[in-house]
């Protein structure tokens, strides 16, 4: 019995490799498939609606907290609209400002995200032209 050299067990005996030569091809295809799946997963995760829901809800609530009566704000909401359209969310349900609970809810997917503000103003909002979210702050009557 021929004596096996150290390392041949793990790295393989080159003489015993496939003769067809398709090993490299299979190797490349498997690697491409692996890294493509990984890349697609990372890409879809970074574009997930929940990331935008949380960011928009907090941004809107903090704007309301910092605002003074008579102010109005315009926020670029194009990414939010894109996600809402992808998930077929009704336009009127995307942003809900509940003045009784002082809560802003942003819904770009089946779920949504809510964040509270502490100021006592009349707050109204609508999505205007060019996907701008308009927030209007008024003194409570």
């Amino acid at each position: 019995m021929a004596r096996q050299k150290r390392g041949e067990f793990l790295f393989g005996n080159k003489k015993a490799q496939t003769d067809s030569g398709y090993g490299d091809l299979i190797f490349i295809v498997l690697n491409l498939a692996f890294f493509s799946i990984l890349f697609l997963w990372v890409w879809s995760s970074s574009n997930a609606a929940f990331v935008y829901e949380e960011a928009y809800a907090k941004e809107i609530a903090l704007i309301i907290d910092k605002a003074e009566p008579g102010m109005h704000f315009e926020i670029d909401f194009s990414k939010g609209m894109e996600k809402a359209e992808e998930n077929e969310i009704d336009k009127k349900n995307i942003i809900l400002i509940n003045e009784a609970e002082n809560r802003v809810r942003v819904k770009l997917s089946e779920r949504g995200f809510s964040f509270r503000y502490f100021t006592d103003y009349n707050v109204s909002s609508y999505i205007g032209t060019e996907n701008k979210l308009v927030i209007i702050i008024n003194e409570k009557s």
Partner: protein, 188 residues
């Protein structure tokens, strides 16, 4: 064609790449990236520190005007801070573990007047504990709230028998926020 044939049919070293080690490398890389992405996206976008600073700013600006303390603050014993600063009282009363604020005024003789205090005592104690350790910028306590603490020198009028004089006092404000927001369901 010959080169292409050599590329795919050259057997030298090819088998080595398909070894168990290469699959181990792929698994380590894959698990590492997946874990990194999951940790990154599960981390909350933290707005607590910003919120406590905004609350501090709102309170400080509504109690002072051009460096002077608003007269009502000293004179009145029943100042409605919520009404004065356009802050909703009900949500502070029902959500004591979310927000906290405390306002004190020290006159030139260092006599303390408590102007307002609302929120959970646990948040206050933790903020004070952190204060004793000397961190006055971004204070975080075990429960997760982030606090803002500032002492501001303010001018105020003192109406005495000899007439009116302008004195310097200190407005002490401590605010905290522990709001993380929540995911909502289909119903709410």
């Amino acid at each position: 064609m010959k080169n292409l044939k050599r590329l795919f049919l050259d057997k030298r070293g090819g088998g080595r790449l398909l070894s168990i080690w290469w699959f181990l490398v792929l698994i380590i890389v894959g698990v590492g990236i997946v874990a990194g992405v999951l940790i990154f996206f599960s981390a909350e976008t933290d707005a607590r520190q910003v919120e406590s600073k905004i609350l501090y700013g709102e309170l400080a600006s509504c109690l002072t005007s051009q460096g002077f303390l608003i007269e009502e603050v000293r004179a009145s014993s029943s100042l409605d801070i919520f009404d004065r600063c356009s802050i909703k009282k009900e949500i502070f009363e029902t959500s004591q573990d979310i927000w906290y604020f405390e306002i004190n005024f020290y006159d030139s003789g260092e006599n303390k007047k408590e102007i307002a205090k609302t929120g959970a005592g646990a948040v206050r104690d933790a903020c004070l504990m952190q204060l004793e350790e000397g961190d006055t910028k971004g204070i975080e306590y075990e429960g997760g709230a982030k606090c803002t603490y500032r002492n501001e020198s303010v001018l105020y009028y003192n109406y005495g028998d000899d007439g009116t004089e302008i004195l310097i006092g200190v407005l002490e404000i401590m605010t905290a926020s522990n709001q993380r927001g929540k995911k909502t369901t289909l119903e709410n």
